[in-house]
């Protein structure tokens, strides 16, 4: 279990706090980033199995979509799930065209995230 790496990108401290707590308790290796640039740096270094990226990050120099784009430039097979507070068709379409795995609107329940994790685990053949 310990070898599954998660990257959580959100400029909202409470979300990072929540997800880090939950997924560290679940035994995953969790990396967090409060902005897109840091997230890309972490991704390049750590190569997480799955990234949860908040689309709407007003405090980040680059928003979620651009973060996704840069991550995909580094590894086009990277699994990324977009989290957002805006149900914006254009954003969704963009995220899909950039190869995002899923799209989860806030407020979410962690079960939805768990499903994504399980899906990726299966794809990677990890337990």
């Amino acid at each position: 279990m310990g070898d599954f790496k998660l990257l959580i990108v959100d400029d909202e401290e409470s979300i990072i706090f929540l997800l880090q707590k939950i997924y560290e308790k679940s035994g995953y290796k969790v990396f967090v980033a409060a902005d897109g640039v840091t997230a890309v740096e972490i991704f390049e270094k750590e190569r997480p199995d799955l990234s949860f990226i908040d689309v709407h990050m007003p405090y980040s120099p680059i928003d979620g979509i651009e973060t996704l784009q840069r991550i995909k430039e580094i590894d086009k097979n990277a699994y990324c799930v977009m989290i957002t507070r805006i149900d914006d068709r254009i954003t969704v379409a963009k995220a899909r065209s950039l190869g995002a795995l899923h799209y989860i609107p806030k407020p979410f329940e962690t079960e939805e995230l768990d499903k994504c994790i399980n899906e990726v685990k299966q794809k990677l053949g990890k337990q």
Partner: protein, 723 residues
């Protein structure tokens, strides 16, 4: 002595002459007036001819009194009889015409033929009257000829038949017509009773003072009839009788005292003043004649105050109503006040008010009273209805008799009063007949006209306030929408955390609590927190959906199919709640641009509310009706028999966070979301309810699209938001 007999003779001559002149002048005036009031109407022409005949008779009577030679008298009596022959002919014809009765044609021709023969006999022979001699204080007066009784008989038959017809008509008619016929009968009876006494003159019988004073009865009768025909629709019989009565009494005294003094007290006067005795009666006559009109006016007013007490009372009430209406701001309250006050004060059996509704191209029934009169009123009168054109053209109140048969409202001798603002007919009041067969007087109509102006102004006033209120509410609602939207954005992050924290705690830390009792308590508390958080997060999601653009592209679809799909999906759920579900749809398909799933979602929201509202209702029934509101608007009406909506809530139920359910049962977002969905379909949504516990109807109107080709309807795969 010769002076005295001269004086006596002259007083008689002048009495006869004055009576004749009065009949001549009064009837000529009435004849002209009636004719010029409406020259094209057959009834007017006939009555005009009738009065002209009486006028000719009057002229003959007048000339007869002044005839100084037998030859002059012969001309006068022929003129008099010329009129007398025509009178019954035109009277019969006019009576039948005004009562809308047909005379068998040959009989009518026969009557006129007889008239012509009589006239020829009158002009060219002396068979009716001849050999004038001095009598009754007149210098020369005719004597009855051999055919004089035939003339009298013909006259009597014509008059009797007509008056009999009037009696029958009076007894069988109702309301206004009854009043009109009463006038006719009264006037004719009075007139002919007076006039017929003239026949006796031919037989040297004169019962003083019947002649010549009975001739004045002709004038009185004329006045009654003439007035009733010209204004029959608007005069109270009591009023005219009172006026005539007061007039008679006042002038009997005014003229009677000096004349009586001159007649019976002459000996006494002569003993006092000698040759100059006539000065006192003359002076008295002068003085009384001057005072007469004032006395008449004074007594008339007081007499009318008494008989019109009731009328004056409600007229005052209506004027008060007119004044106070401007202060009412709620239009429904205004309608209620008007309708109720009218019924209550005038004691009419019913009243109603219709108002123009541009959207439905008709005048809609807004309020009526009392409840049991509902069957009299139809819901609406179309803008192009003949009644509406009539009201717009004439701009005055109408009596049911003037309108004739009217298919939309059962007026029953009532009144229709239009309300205008400038040229625009805003609406109209419908007022039932006055009690006890009384008729509406000109005063009434005047008051109603005032009432209608005030009503029109008050309606405009209410509309103005409502418009302002609507704008303010709309602004408030929009503000609320955007506030809710930004609120949802602000709280979705903290909500996410709050929603998930309790489960996190339960999952990972519960096991460290050793006491099972305490463990359970923490577990329950966490679950409760999750539930609360779920509810808030539900609201946040609902608010966001409201502003969200439609998920599918609007495409032509058949509303019948949408509703069928919905009922297949949802009817089992409704039936499971032991609710009777009924749907009505037209046979021809109705096409709109839309997304089937979203329209069905709207119906599901309605159904959820209905199920909840009918929890304790009996019967439980949902009716889903699809109709065309007009040629380009489709309407879906969703009715339940639940607890309904309070009038003050009906506007706000589509705002966010409004719920009638207990706080644990709903988010108050259902109708708010439904509104969002309908707005995205460029439709309208509103609710109607007669009030608490009377059920509710939710209505959705969508623009219809015409000219649909089958290929437009091929279903496209709708994109899903998760991929």
């Amino acid at each position: 002595m010769s002076d005295l007999s001269n004086c006596c003779r002259y007083s008689m001559i002048y009495s006869f002459a004055a009576a004749g002149l009065a009949v001549f002048a009064a009837n000529l005036l009435i004849a002209l007036f009636i004719f010029f009031k409406k020259p094209t109407a057959k009834i007017n022409r006939l009555f005009s001819l009738f009065f002209a005949s009486v006028s000719i008779y009057g002229f003959g009577f007048f000339r007869q009194a002044l005839s100084a030679t037998p030859a002059e008298e012969m001309v006068s009596i022929k003129i008099l009889l010329f009129g007398t022959i025509l009178i019954p002919i035109f009277f019969v014809h006019a009576t039948y015409a005004i009562l809308n009765k047909k005379i068998y044609r040959p009989i009518l021709y026969l009557i006129y033929l007889l008239g012509v023969i009589f006239e020829l006999l009158n002009i060219f022979t002396d068979l009716f009257a001849s050999n004038p001699i001095p009598k009754f204080g007149l210098r020369y007066l005719f004597q009855a000829g051999p055919l004089y009784p035939v003339l009298a008989l013909g006259f009597a038959i014509g008059i009797t038949v007509s008056i009999w017809q009037l009696i029958v008509a009076y007894r069988t008619s109702a309301g206004l017509e009854r009043n009109r016929n009463r006038y006719l009968f009264l006037g004719m009876a009075v007139g002919f009773m007076g006039g017929s006494a003239g026949f006796l003159l031919g037989y040297n019988i004169n019962l003083f003072p019947i002649n010549p004073f009975s001739t004045y009865c002709v004038v009185l009768g004329n006045l009654l009839i003439g007035y009733s025909i010209v204004k029959y629709r608007l005069l109270d019989i009591n009023v005219i009788l009172t006026r005539a009565g007061v007039f008679t009494v006042v002038y009997t005294f005014v003229l009677g005292i000096p004349f009586g003094l001159a007649g019976w007290g002459r000996a006494w006067l002569t003993s006092l003043f000698g040759q100059e005795w006539f000065w006192l009666p003359m002076l008295l006559l002068l003085g009384f004649a001057t005072a007469g009109p004032f006395l008449y006016t004074y007594f008339r007013r007081h007499a009318e105050d008494v008989i019109l007490k009731n009328q004056r009372r409600y007229q005052r009430a209506l004027v008060e109503l007119s004044k106070s209406m401007g202060r009412i701001r709620e239009i429904d309250k205004l309608y209620k006040t008007i309708v109720f006050t009218v019924v209550d004060t005038i004691k009419v059996p019913f009243a109603g008010i219709y108002l123009k509704d541009e959207e439905y191209n008709s005048y809609q029934l807004k309020q009526f009273f009392p409840k049991k009169s509902q069957s009299r009123f139809q819901e609406f009168v179309p803008l192009d209805h003949p009644l509406i054109s009539l009201l717009i053209k004439q701009k005055r109140p109408f009596l049911s008799e003037e309108i004739g048969v009217f298919d939309k409202i059962d007026l029953d001798h009532g009144l229709i009063i239009p309300c205008f603002v400038e040229e625009d007919l805003l609406g109209f009041l419908v007022i039932g007949p006055k009690p006890n067969n009384q008729m509406y007087t000109p005063d009434d109509v005047l008051i109603f006209e005032t009432l209608s102006y005030s009503t029109a102004l008050a309606i405009e006033n209410c509309k103005f306030w409502k418009d302002i209120e609507n704008r303010q509410r709309k602004a408030r609602l929009q503000e609320m929408d955007s506030f809710a939207y930004s609120l949802a954005h602000e709280i979705d992050n903290p909500m996410t955390v709050l929603l998930n924290m309790p489960n996190f705690l339960r999952k990972h830390f519960l096991k460290y609590i050793s006491d099972p009792q305490e463990q359970k308590e923490v577990d329950d508390t966490c679950k409760h927190m999750t539930q609360l958080a779920e509810r808030v997060s539900g609201m946040v999601k609902a608010i966001r959906k409201f502003g969200e653009p439609t998920t599918g592209e609007l495409a032509p679809l058949n509303l019948q199919e949408v509703i069928d799909g919905y009922s297949k999906l949802y009817a089992p759920e409704i039936k499971a709640q032991s609710i009777y579900f009924e749907k009505e749809m037209p046979n021809e398909p109705i096409y709109v641009n839309g997304v089937a799933a979203e329209l069905q979602q709207v119906l599901i929201i309605f159904a959820n509310n209905a199920i909840h509202a009918m929890k304790y209702a009996d019967p439980k029934k949902i009716t889903l009706k699809l109709t065309r509101a007009n040629h380009n608007i489709a309407r879906i009406a969703f009715s339940d028999t639940g607890y309904g909506i309070k009038p003050e809530k009906i506007e706000t139920i589509f705002a966010p966070f409004v719920t009638s359910k207990a706080s644990t049962e709903g988010t108050g977002m259902g109708l708010y979301n439904a509104k969002g969905l309908v707005l995205r379909h460029k439709g309208k949504i509103w609710a109607e309810s007669e009030g608490h516990s009377k059920g509710a109807t939710f209505i959705v109107e969508l623009p219809i699209i015409e000219d649909i080709k089958p290929e437009d309807l091929t279903k496209k795969d709708e994109p899903k938001w998760k991929f």
